[in-house]
């Protein structure tokens, strides 16, 4: 869903500033440096993020500019992976293991350090069997007109996007504001800012 197909839901940013003279080469390198990388360990719980090609989330190479640069449009996707364990299933397994330990050791209660040990072992075991939750959000950047559209409306995900964009391109995306529509008429923008909310309740009018 996004710039290649489906309905479009985007947050728009302004990207001011001059592109470096060697921007194609420079961005190719920094996209490679900030591309998505798989977690080094199957038991990693850490959230991982990086750029992928918009066409396929498994394509993380940016050496060929034709796969991410279309005239003046940079088209990418932000991939975010996170492994999370199903909480209810985890608790159920842990319960069984605690009970098994109590039976084996003929104890009524499982001591806290043992329970922690069992919990950590189970977590590693289940993480190894769990696939990450994978989210992919398209990015379309018009480098000529200085806007970028990010295909996600969550504040948290947009924060991740802004940070990675800044790290990759050394430019700051500024969130679009309705006043940008009247940027060429600052007096209109100022007047709008100084308005108060209109109240439609009829008793207010009378």
């Amino acid at each position: 869903m996004g710039f290649l197909k489906g309905a479009l839901s985007v947050r728009r940013y302004r990207v001011d500033g001059e592109l470096p003279a060697d921007w194609r080469e420079r961005y190719r390198e920094s996209l490679e440096a900030n591309a998505f990388r798989e977690a080094p360990s199957a038991t990693s719980k850490e959230e991982r993020m990086g750029w992928v090609q918009a066409h396929n989330l498994l394509d993380t190479g940016f050496g060929n500019t034709q796969q991410w640069l279309y005239n003046h449009y940079v088209l990418l996707a932000l991939r975010i992976d996170k492994k999370t364990l199903p909480a209810k299933l985890f608790r159920a397994h842990l319960d069984k293991r605690v009970r098994a330990w109590c039976e084996e050791h003929q104890r009524e209660r499982c001591p806290s350090p043992v329970k922690t040990e069992l919990k950590e072992a189970l977590e590693l075991e289940m993480l190894r069997q769990t696939l990450p939750r994978v989210a992919v959000h398209e990015v379309c950047w018009n480098v000529n007109d200085g806007w970028v559209a990010f295909h996600n409306a969550s504040d948290l995900v947009n924060d991740h996007f802004r940070k990675l964009f800044m790290r990759t391109f050394e430019m700051t995306p500024m969130l679009f504001d309705p006043l940008d529509f009247v940027a060429d008429r600052p007096e209109l923008a100022e007047a709008l800012v100084s308005t108060g909310a209109s109240d439609l309740r009829s008793e207010v009018a009378s």
């Binding site: 710039f3 839901s9 728009r12 279309y70 449009y73 909310a197 439609l200």
Partner: protein, 183 residues
């Protein structure tokens, strides 16, 4: 927006949505913007979300056929609620868009673009869709500028706001049958 200036207060987007709804209801939603977007026709589609003043969360969402003409929608306004989202259809020349305008940032969400290319060269698809996205953003900008000029001029207090209040209170006062003749 200049770097020194704070962003638009949240009521600006809410009133923009209200103005679009009011205009579409009153004048068949046709605006002629001679030297900008040309003739643009717009109408409210099947979703309106309201929020209480001072709260960003939507507390009432009306969906279905013509929610803009419903008694519930006008009653929400009469009760002091503000608009948070508005689903709008826009026609400019041959092109027709559907979009949910969301929140204080006037975000373009769930936009249906009038693309002709359904498959083939991804570059061609991107050019076409990016062109339509920019066109939609441009048209919204033209509408917003028309709203801003009216909102900040004397006509708002003298004409528009009283007309909006009458539009709301008449619909509420007429009761459930009000929706039958609103459009």
């Amino acid at each position: 927006m200049t770097e020194e200036m704070a962003g638009a207060p949240p009521h600006v987007a809410s009133e923009f949505y209200l103005w679009l709804w009011f205009r579409s209801d009153q004048g068949d939603g046709e605006l002629v913007m001679d030297d900008e977007a040309g003739d643009v026709t717009f109408w409210v589609e099947d979703r309106i979300a309201f929020r209480p003043a001072g709260d960003a969360r939507a507390t009432a969402v009306l969906t279905g056929d013509n929610p803009g003409t419903s008694l519930e929608a006008r009653a929400a306004l009469a009760g002091g609620k503000m608009l948070r989202d508005l689903k709008l259809a826009l026609r400019r020349g041959e092109r027709e868009y559907e979009v949910v305008l969301r929140g204080p940032g006037i975000e373009i969400t769930a936009a249906k673009l009038p693309g002709l290319l359904k498959g083939g060269d991804p570059a061609e698809i991107l050019y076409e869709r990016a062109y339509h996205y920019e066109d939609l953003h441009y048209v919204l900008g033209c509408l917003f500028r028309a709203f801003a000029a009216e909102r900040t001029g004397p006509a708002w207090q003298e004409t528009t706001l009283p007309a909006m209040r009458a539009w709301v209170s008449n619909a509420v006062g007429r009761g459930p049958d009000a929706s039958d003749d609103s459009f």
